[in-house]
């Protein structure tokens, strides 16, 4: 009930919630409504003759879902697979994709005006897929201000760059 009230409050204030995760040194934020669940890295079946960052497919309760390792794709972080490896399952409209990242950090609420346009350079990701940059306030432990890169994850995952879809789908 209180969740519902919170949600309502969020909607009223125009704020949006984001899930932040780390890739190497950088912190990224994605729309939390696109996140279906977060789970460990396990039981991935390899697919032959695909780029190395496409790790294969997993069984998500009867649904076959491809897994992308963002660390390999963007050449950051340390590529190890152990019990701490985290996979974010994204629900992008009709498609479900698993994405391996270095770590999941937080859920934050951002006002639209908190998101600043991104400069033309500076991030690992192509600026085309960036919604902007957001400054995160100091947390209670007194850590210093951080910057999160807000990513349009749907646009990124459905792009031809990722090779997750047939080109026909791309055109349409």
């Amino acid at each position: 009930m209180s969740d519902a009230l919170d949600d309502q409050a969020l909607v009223n204030s125009g704020q949006q919630e984001f899930l932040t995760f780390t890739l190497g040194e950088e912190e990224y934020a994605i729309d939390i409504l696109k996140v279906q669940e977060i789970r460990g890295y396990d039981g991935v079946t390899r697919i032959a003759n695909t780029p190395s960052y496409i790790k294969g497919v997993i069984n998500m309760r009867g649904v076959i879902v491809p897994v992308v390792d963002m660390r390999i794709k963007f050449n950051v972080g340390e590529v190890v697979y152990d019990q701490f490896t985290v996979m974010i399952i994204l629900n992008l409209g009709e498609r479900i994709v698993g994405m391996v990242v270095d770590g999941v950090s937080d859920v934050i609420a951002l006002d639209p005006e908190q998101i600043r346009p991104a400069p033309e350079f500076g991030a690992t990701l192509d600026t085309e897929y960036l919604q902007g940059l957001a400054t995160l306030a100091k947390d209670q432990e007194g850590n210093q201000e951080r910057m999160a890169i807000v990513v349009d994850i749907e646009k990124l995952m459905t792009s031809g760059d990722m090779g997750l879809m047939d080109q026909v789908v791309q055109a349409g």
Binding site: G43, T45, R46, I47, A48, N49, T50, G56, V57, I58, N59, R61, G62, V63, I64, V65, P66, R95, I96, V97, G163, L164, M165, D166, V169
Partner: protein, 712 residues
């Protein structure tokens, strides 16, 4: 009264489509020389149900058209008119129009009013063509015998002799006595100048009455007419009007029309009809007030069931007719719900095997209960899986059912005579396949009619029966389904095909076998038809057929004998959802091979392996040299064994020939649920799909055709 009816629109539309389909099937089955009353009644009921629903939901155009349809049908089923080809044609047209109207309503589009009016006019013309004639003749006794309330009907007897029969010695008293013997009698008109009339409440045949009057006057001097007295009183209209509410307007109009049209003592058999309409409409009016759709349907069914029982003074089988309409035991469920169910059951099976795996360490004697429970769980979940899978299975009649119409229309258009025979309509296959089968089958049937079956003259000249036969058959053959289209037409012409192939520049071997030549008809843009008709001849159809069938993982076989006919066989898997497969291991990965494609598996001897320069390796098996395809190379894996003599060779068959796949080991034979990789990912070369294994991992299913191509 302010309940929103639109929530029921979809239900009505779905139902109406069903009624239409029933109607069409029955119409096509009508034998013009000996129409079956049950069938005519069933058609009438279907039309009536559509009208009722349409009226309730305010689809006045549909209600209007069905009303015209119903009027004609009503006269047919009462045997006042003989069905003619013209009528059937008009009915079919009407049913097409209704289908289009339903589409239009569903999509909120405008309907084609002109066509409706034209068809309506035609129906009315047909219905009334006979009206005057019918009124003049001493009308046939209607078949109606018992009124729906269970009361008896009345005979209205009118004596109108040329001469005063009573003056000539006939005894009014004697007639009264004789009639009284049959049932309660009411004298309506005392004899005056020979004229007299009676109302007899008795359930007797016309013959009995004729007998009584035989010695009184000439047969044409007395009329007997059937009436359902109590309800036929015009005063009843008031009471009836009470039930009418605005939503019921079209239906109400009906009844009024009927009353106006037939009047009170019109001495025809139309009275029961008027009454019946009232009765049915009352049912509607009343129940519509309740705003309860299911009840309305029930009323509808009751009404139609009632009309059936009234018609069965003939020794037909009332029980059968009633059971047809009484209870609908099926539920309409969305396919996605069924698929979800299949997924969930699949999950259940996987969870069970994981549970079994972790419990296998427990001592079987100490934990006997757990092991027994697990065994039960396994049996139950397997049964459940089978039961759920069977939901997706439908009889092939869903596709075959449309062909009587297709054949009828095409033969008409092309002035040919073709009889369609359906065999094995109850054969069940997956719903997904049924939907995909419909297009290719239509093409094949069209082709058979257009190119296969000759014109009646040619057939007679060739010493064949004037009427050609096309047989559509379906049967289970092992793990697959064989659908055949067989015609007794001209057959394929080898020379013509070869000449055409040359003209089009289709590559062919020097001395092609018949099978190779027949395959030519599936090449795109290939048609030997002398001219392009609007039915076929563009050379597109067969191309579509072959593509659709291979999409369904099926195969096409053609046999043809010139002058005797052609047989085209489509061999299809039972279902697209389940595959009998062999699981095998390459490195750390598990793959599935379709079992139907596996010919044998063996461990080769070193001496059987040969190297062909530049072409890789081949394996020599019983005189044949088969290309050796190491799967670890195709799929870029780290194998456990790299020497074929240490692993296993699986010989598979593809349309490009046999292949020997080299794998690490075979694991087991499994029935697997096929899942698409493309839903969330994309097509993968050499892989046709994926499945989930007992341990919850994904295994890929190998596409042998693609593999063969990749290797070629």
């Amino acid at each position: 009264m302010s309940v929103d009816l639109s929530q029921f629109h979809q239900v009505f539309i779905d139902e109406a489509y069903e009624h239409l389909a029933t109607m069409e099937n029955l119409l096509l089955a009508v034998d013009l020389d000996d129409p079956n009353l049950d069938d005519l009644n069933a058609i009438f009921r279907a039309a009536h149900s559509i009208k009722g629903g349409a009226g309730t939901f305010g689809f006045t155009d549909i209600a209007d058209l069905t009303h015209a349809l119903e009027t004609l049908l009503d006269r047919l089923r009462k045997q006042e008119l003989e069905p003619t080809d013209e009528m059937i044609e008009a009915f079919l047209q009407a049913s097409d129009l209704l289908g289009r109207l339903l589409d239009a309503h569903q999509q909120g589009e405008e309907s084609d009013q002109e066509a409706i009016q034209a068809n309506k006019a035609e129906l009315i013309r047909l219905a009334e063509a006979d009206q005057e004639v019918a009124a003049d003749q001493p009308s046939e006794p209607p078949l109606a015998s018992a009124s729906p309330q269970g009361g008896e009907g009345h005979w209205l007897i009118q004596l109108h002799p040329k001469e005063d029969v009573f003056a000539k010695g006939a005894s009014h008293e004697a007639i009264n006595e004789d009639l009284k013997a049959l049932g309660p009698l009411e004298i309506l008109q005392q004899p005056a100048e020979g004229k007299a009339s009676w109302r007899l409440q008795a359930d007797v045949g016309r013959e009995q009455l004729e007998e009584i009057f035989a010695w009184v006057c000439e047969p044409q001097e007395v009329t007997f007419s059937r009436e359902e007295a109590p309800l036929a009183e015009p005063s009843d209209d008031d009471g009836f009007g009470f039930f009418v509410d605005e939503k019921d307007l079209p239906a109400a109009q009906d009844a009024v029309e009927a009353d106006q049209g037939f009047g009170f003592f019109v001495d025809t058999a139309d009275l029961p009809a008027a009454k019946e309409q009232q009765e049915a409409d009352q049912g509607y009016g009343f129940f519509v007030d309740e705003q309860e759709l299911p009840i309305k349907q029930a009323a509808d069914e009751k009404a139609s069931a009632g009309s059936v029982s009234r018609e069965v003074s003939k020794p037909t089988s009332p029980a059968k007719a009633q059971s047809k309409t009484s209870v609908d035991t099926s539920i309409r469920v969305g396919v996605e719900k069924v698929d979800q169910l299949i997924n969930l059951v699949g999950e259940l099976v996987i969870t069970r095997s994981m549970l079994a795996q972790s419990l296998s360490v427990l001592d079987p004697i100490e934990h006997e209960n757990i092991h027994n429970g697990l065994a039960n769980l396994e049996r139950n979940s397997r049964d459940l899986q089978e039961a759920v899978m069977s939901i997706r299975m439908l009889p092939i009649n869903f596709v075959f059912g449309r062909f009587p119409r297709v054949v009828r229309d095409l033969t008409k258009k092309m002035h040919k005579k073709v009889k369609l025979k359906l065999v094995g309509e109850e054969t069940e296959l997956d719903k997904g396949l049924i939907e995909k089968l419909s297009d290719p089958l239509t093409h094949l049937v069209r082709n058979s009619i257009d190119h296969g079956i000759e014109s009646p003259e040619e057939r007679v000249a060739a010493g064949k029966p004037e009427e050609g036969t096309i047989t559509l058959s379906a049967s289970h053959q092992g793990g697959s389904i064989l659908v055949e289209i067989h015609d007794d037409g001209a057959g394929l012409n080898r020379e013509k095909l070869l000449a055409k192939a040359q003209e089009k520049g289709v590559p062919l071997s020097d001395n092609p076998t018949d099978k190779e030549v027949w395959q030519l008809i599936f090449a795109a843009g290939f048609s030997t038809a002398k001219e392009v008709t609007d039915v076929s001849g563009r050379g597109v159809g067969m191309d579509v057929v072959s593509r659709n069938i291979s999409e369904m993982k099926g195969q096409i076989e053609i046999d043809s004998v010139e002058g005797e006919g052609t047989r085209i066989g489509l061999r299809l898997p039972l279902t697209l959802a389940i595959l009998d497969g062999m699981s095998l291991r390459v490195g750390d990965e598990v793959f599935i091979l379709p079992l139907t494609r596996i010919l044998e598996s063996l461990q080769p001897d070193k001496s059987q392996l040969k190297t062909v320069a530049g072409k890789g390796r081949v394996v020599h098996i019983r005189g044949e040299y088969l290309p050796l395809v190491p799967l670890y190379k195709v799929f870029n894996l780290e194998p456990r064994v790299t020497k074929p003599e240490q692993g296993i060779l699986v010989v598979v068959e593809s349309i490009h020939g046999k292949l020997a796949l080299f794998v690490d080991e075979l694991i087991a034979q499994d029935q697997v649920v096929i899942k698409s990789l493309e839903t969330h990912y994309r097509k993968v070369e050499g892989i046709s799909g994926a499945t989930i294994m007992g341990d919850g991992r994904v295994a890929l299913i190998i596409d042998i055709e693609r593999l063969a191509k990749m290797n070629a």
